[in-house]
Symmetry: C2
Subunit: 259 residues, 2 copies
């Protein structure tokens, strides 16, 4: 890690990640809870599917020989699929098998010692695409000028989400299943998804709140070394300073508390 | 700039900066509006005064020989003084002249070619400490266990804010005068500050909203090259991709639009 940087959490995904710093968004909440510990990087790209995400990741994730200078990515969330699951003829559509192959490729880029992007210090968490409220989505698209046809189906997105859960189990990568998280919150009623989605597709603050809680629970369970309640500030708290001789006590340190 | 990083905005200050990613905070709003353009780094340190901030800045701002590897800091906000203006015997108290000398030192570290931290690509904006609502602050301190005496005075903090405005004029560094911004919003009535401060000292969402608007206006006026409406995304928008041959069109680029 460069001395002048903090280690970081990279949130990689599509518009649902990019929008995570809106009011109540999960990115803003992570930024707040990890303040003075890790920076939280927004690497969400509106409209992107997993196929287009790969060349982005190649450019935004440091290669092995660059990593000593780059902020160390301690946690990487990969949240794609909402656009892959578009139906034809959308240019965003990616077939399910190719979508899963792309996710596996992204994981392998970080986890395989043979990869130029190999980063053994990076924990990965996959996030499923959220459920679509087709009633709300259709109304949103019909209200546009010119009106558009429905571009996503409830069951198609569900099959993409299910496949991520299966992939995670196979790869032993933890998965935040926000598809079922939101679905369960509705009592299994599609129209009730409007409580958690602002337009049938993108999460509102209530939806992000459920995502945030599931993500934090996943961190605590599967990546406990990154549990924010177990970390200290990189720069000492002001009441840790020696007020009579402050400078020697104001030294950057590892946020992990020595055992 | 490292290829794998985005240029960045560094928000440097005390708890009022550290808390900027709470709901409605200015850091979260900047993170959102600069998504895919600049990362916004939280370098706020609760309780810190300008004297303790100097060694922090020495460690968190890249030196000249480190800058080619570090994210380029395009904008640095320095928002200190709320703790310096504590009255004796608070260990946070820093005399006014020393506070201003410390701010000048921080600016010089970035702007002086003789400084190890010289960074000619970094624009600087100073922010004044906000006004104190001593009624609200006293009540907050008296409610603690054990109760504490009032530690800040309305007129003292005002004198620290006035001195920042004067320093900025002398150094030709733009200043966001949130002291007067909030004071004017109250119609010049100290108790009305409770609309903008959650505890007489720290801004709530309404206070951060005024700060955000003043800061964006200052960027547009004094650092127009960083006006977010004039920037493009570092990675092309999804509708800029050549869908028939996507990879060659997905290339990271300068967020400044070529003239």
């Amino acid at each position: 890690m460069a001395a002048n940087a903090q280690d970081a959490i990279m949130l990689f995904g599509d518009s649902i990640t990019q929008g995570g710093w809106e009011d109540g968004g999960f990115g803003a909440r992570l930024s707040h809870v990890y303040a003075r510990k890790f920076d939280v990087l927004n690497r969400g790209l509106s409209g992107y599917n997993s196929e287009w995400a790969v060349p982005v990741f190649e450019q935004y994730f440091a290669k092995q020989h660059e990593q000593k200078h780059a902020p160390k990515i301690r946690l990487l969330t990969i949240w794609l699929g909402a656009n892959d699951a578009c139906i034809k003829p959308s240019p965003q559509h990616i077939p399910l098998e190719k979508y899963i192959a792309n996710l596996k490729h992204l994981v392998d880029m970080v986890r395989s010692p043979d990869s130029a992007w190999y980063s053994p210090d990076t924990a990965i968490i996959l996030i499923t695409p959220p459920p679509v409220n087709t009633h709300q989505r259709r109304a949103d698209l019909q209200a546009r000028d010119p009106p558009k046809e429905l571009d996503r189906l409830f069951d198609t997105t569900k099959s993409y989400a299910d496949a991520v859960v299966k992939l995670g189990a196979g790869l032993q990568v933890p998965v935040v299943d926000i598809w079922n998280g939101l679905w369960d919150a509705t009592g299994h009623e599609e129209t009730a998804l409007s409580r958690y989605l602002r337009d049938g597709l993108h999460l509102n603050a209530a939806g992000y709140s459920i995502l945030y809680d599931l993500l934090m629970a996943t961190i605590v369970k599967h990546v406990p070394t990154l549990d924010p309640s177990k970390l200290r500030d990189a720069i000492p708290r002001w009441d840790e300073i020696n007020w009579d001789d402050p400078h020697p006590s104001i030294v950057k340190r590892d946020v992990q508390i020595p055992q």
